[in-house]
């Protein structure tokens, strides 16, 4: 590929080796940021959040949308149902209006993704799981819940104990508005103490089961109990 052969004797180059210095400093700074990046970023992003919403390039509020299938499920209020099934005496299917008629719960909580991003102070509106489960009569021996997404084959499990933590809910509102398609419309699971992969979106079916199984990401090696800061290789 040579079309400019080097001269037999190149004159010695003058100056100091700033180029490699810049290269090494940048590479080293980037590498070590694996340890300091998150704490610095959380300070900066807190400071510039009013600016963030003005710049279209920065994703709104720090959310990213992760999906496992080719397209996002769409929500039709007329045909959508939340099925309550499994070890129950009689399965029940709630339509969207029946869901909204259940006692409404509201909370503000922080959402942590296992890949390292966090969205603070998300305002959720929805229903507590006990109010949903009150619609069915469980058979004896039920110790866990299976949450199935309309995004096939996504799903995950919580034990009854985890599902009855005070800030666990099935949310149909986010930041004062109906849940958008990207965030799992019309209904998603919210469990702030666990990483996002446990917070199943596009919820369409809850099964009452005797034992926890492995959810989508657990089958790929993620921790069953996705406690924030205490699982998946993270330590507080």
């Amino acid at each position: 590929m040579s079309d400019s052969p080097p001269p037999p004797t190149s004159p010695p180059l003058e100056g100091s080796r700033v180029g490699r210095g810049v290269f090494l400093a940048t590479a080293l700074g980037g590498l070590t940021s694996l340890w300091w990046g998150r704490s610095v970023w959380s300070r900066i992003s807190g400071a510039i959040s009013p600016v963030e919403s003005l710049i279209p390039l920065i994703p709104n509020g720090g959310w990213r949308i992760y999906t496992v299938s080719g397209s996002l499920p769409s929500f039709d209020p007329a045909s959508w149902r939340l099925e309550l099934a499994g070890a129950v005496e009689r399965p029940v299917a709630l339509d969207y209006r029946q869901l909204l008629a259940l006692p409404k719960a509201e909370q503000v909580s922080t959402f942590h993704c296992v890949t390292g991003w966090t969205v603070r102070d998300v305002a959720w509106g929805g229903v507590r799981i006990r109010d949903v489960l009150a619609q069915v009569k469980p058979q004896p021996g039920v110790r866990a819940l299976r949450f199935l997404s309309a995004e096939h084959p996504y799903g995950d499990y919580l034990t009854l104990g985890q599902a009855s933590l005070p800030d666990v809910m099935l949310a149909y509102e986010m930041d004062g508005k109906p849940l958008t398609r990207a965030h799992g419309a019309p209904l998603r699971l919210v469990i702030p103490d666990m990483y996002g992969y446990k917070n199943v979106k596009w919820l369409k079916r809850i099964e009452l089961v005797a034992h926890e199984g492995s959810g989508y990401w657990e089958q790929l090696g993620y921790d069953q109990n996705a406690w924030v800061g205490r699982s998946n290789g993270y330590r507080m």
């Binding site: 180059l13 700033v18 940048t26 994703p59």
Partner: protein, 198 residues
Amino acid sequence: MTRYVRRFSRTERVLHWANALGFFTLLASGLILYLPSLAVLIGRSPLVKDVHFWSGIGWVALLVLVLLVGDRRGMLRTARELDRFDVDDARWLLGRRPAPQGRFNAGQKLNAALTAAFTLLFLMSGLLLWLGERDTRFRFASTVILHDGLMYAALALLVGHLYLAVIHPATRHALRGITVGTVSEEWARRHHGKWKPE
């Protein structure tokens, strides 16, 4: 009659455009994954993820291939040229004039050093994201922040680079150099006074 002098070798030009091709493929597929509005619009996230991952591997492989097949000795000489900053380069960066420049001006040298470091960090953080999805030992809380931060920094460099190469009247003649290899002798004398074209 305009006289032209050779500024960039074929290896340099192929390397530049291979890098540009890889970068734009990665930027496009990366933004689809990163921006919620695009993610919803386009969907097909597993496919886009595969495209992004394999273009990343392909990008770095292509750069290595060009360096191996191309004029290695010439590229080493280019690297040494980019490495050295003399007194005029310091003056140039501080905005003092006159500050006659070599074949690369000080800004181009900085851009080269940063771009090389960013490439390395993009590759490393991208691989860590991919591996971390498979094995918790490769998972760091800040990997995704590093990868995103690099994107913003590289994008800022790119915007400046494109402005100077395509829009700014005094410098856009350089685009000819990186495409066909030659620049006008008169332009070279004005912008790269210390450079002695062969």
